[in-house]
């Protein structure tokens, strides 16, 4: 077997196109995961069992089925119910929904980590439920979970090759396309792996910076 580094280099323009797609899917998906995860966490805490139980079931259901299955499901089911979305949008949504079930657990642990005395003080000071959440509980809960939330953005980025299954061509897809034309797969796939590695490491570094800046209750 001979491995030509020039083949890795030649694949880079395609890789950068694919990187943009992967970053778009990660970015959109991450925003969905952050917002929807918080919504799930709220609804699961609801006193109304008709709200908390179905949401809890939905979260467990999504978390216990493979992302790949969900990608196919949305890809084929959304058009049937009249929603036409591009494969990239469908993929980003599925990715975000899947990871929202993880972030909701992260939020839950952060919320549970706020001492009961904080809720009691808020009650004693007659703050409304909404104010208690926005001004007392979440500002303490979220800094605790910034590190865990940061890890998920990297995990999502590394899951983007699965979007290939629904025709979204990111880096791995680009590499396979090159391979099918040149009959040399190892170099472009190595290029894809290399770009994933570099970008994931960069993301980890950014996550640490964010964590240092916001990842604790400043005292």
């Amino acid at each position: 077997m001979n491995f030509e580094w020039s083949g890795v280099w030649d694949a880079m323009p395609t890789m950068l196109d694919g990187l943009l797609v992967a970053l778009a899917a990660t970015g959109i998906g991450y925003v969905i995961a952050l917002v929807l995860g918080l919504v799930f966490a709220f609804l699961r805490r609801s006193d109304n069992r008709w709200v908390s139980m179905p949401v809890g079931f939905l979260v467990e259901f999504i978390r216990s089925t493979p992302l790949l299955v969900q990608l196919f499901f949305f890809f084929y089911v959304l058009p049937l119910i009249g929603i036409s979305a591009s494969p990239l949008a469908t993929g980003a949504f599925a990715l975000g929904l899947h990871y929202a079930t993880y972030t909701s657990e992260v939020y839950r642990s952060g919320i549970d980590g706020v001492p009961p005395g904080q809720w009691e003080a808020a009650t004693a000071l007659n703050l409304s439920t909404r104010r208690t959440w926005t001004n007392v509980i979440l500002p303490q809960a979220i800094p605790r979970v910034v590190p865990a939330l940061g890890n998920y953005v990297i995990a999502m980025f590394k899951d983007t090759p699965q979007l290939l299954a629904i025709t979204v061509v990111e880096m791995l897809g680009g590499a396979i396309a090159i391979g099918s034309e040149t009959f040399r797969y190892s170099e472009p796939i190595a290029a894809a792996g290399l770009v994933y590695l570099v970008v994931a490491l960069l993301m980890a570094w950014v996550a640490r910076v964010v964590e240092r800046r916001y990842g604790q209750v400043r005292v």
Partner: protein
């Protein structure tokens, strides 16, 4: 709840009528009756687990009684009248009732995500609708009164326990409560910080007409500041007397042995 309840009356500030509170099978309060007059300083003493703190938590609506009623200032606290019947209060009623009641906690419970000044202004702005300027002026006055003018921009975690507790007192007072509940407010403090907090409380008791209900193990403080001391054991008030009488000539054997134990421990 079979017998009729006494009608609300306003010459009592706090009225417990046959209040029952259970945690599982454990009965904490057994048909507890007592009342406190406006402006009175009443201290609850008694062994740990006798239900003293539960009384304060019921008044702050942090717990709900299993039976009986509580009135504050002649109004039902966690019940309301609907078609001649008493029904459990809704959130709106509870928020109205809580306006008149403040609480200082053993563990201070300051908001660590806010600086000292904002800890004191947050609730007046958000729950009373004061303007930011009004709330800040009130907060500065109160922080000066508790001797912490120089800590306005500090974060709670930068303060000693005694300073944190004095901020918590200012925070409670900023809501202008008619009733202030003090839940073992010096129990979590290092011994040398206790006196400063108690001095602040004595001053407030002397200069305001706030009604105090206080749970404490500081017997000297209880003796100095209370109008009345209630000895509490097994979910009931077993002795209720002015401090000079209760501390020097306790009528009840249980009170005597409790005071012996507490005072021996202190020495």
């Amino acid at each position: 709840m079979s017998e009729p309840y006494s009608s609300p009356s306003s010459d009592v500030m706090i009225q417990f009528d046959r209040v029952v509170k259970k945690f599982g099978d454990h009965v904490v309060l057994r048909e507890l009756d007592f009342s406190v007059k406006p402006g009175e300083f009443v201290t609850l003493i008694g062994p740990s687990g006798s239900g003293k703190t539960t009384i304060l938590r019921l008044l702050m609506t942090l717990e709900t009684a299993d039976d009986g009623t509580i009135q504050v200032g002649g109004e039902y606290l966690s019940h309301m009248e609907r078609g001649g019947k008493l029904v459990p209060a809704d959130e709106r009623h509870l928020r109205n009732q809580r306006k008149r009641i403040g609480m200082v906690f053993q563990q201070f419970n300051l908001f660590p995500n806010m600086k000292v000044l904002q800890n004191v202004t947050e609730a007046p702005v958000r729950a009373l609708g004061l303007s930011k300027a009004e709330a800040e002026q009130r907060a500065r006055e109160l922080l000066e009164m508790v001797g912490l003018s120089d800590k306005i921009d500090a974060h709670p975690m930068q303060l000693s326990g005694g300073q944190q507790q004095r901020v918590a007192i200012a925070r409670a007072l900023a809501m202008r409560p008619q009733v202030l509940l003090l839940d073992e407010v010096t129990s979590a403090l290092d011994p040398e910080l206790v006196a400063g907090v108690l001095a602040v409380l004595k001053e407030i008791a002397r200069t305001t007409d706030i009604t105090f209900l206080c749970v404490t193990h500081e017997m000297q403080f209880a003796q100095d500041v209370s109008d009345r001391v209630m000895m509490f054991d097994q979910g009931q008030v077993i002795e209720d007397a002015p401090p000079e009488q209760l501390f020097t000539q306790p009528a009840h054997e249980r009170t005597r042995s409790f005071l012996h134990a507490v005072i021996d421990r202190a020495v």
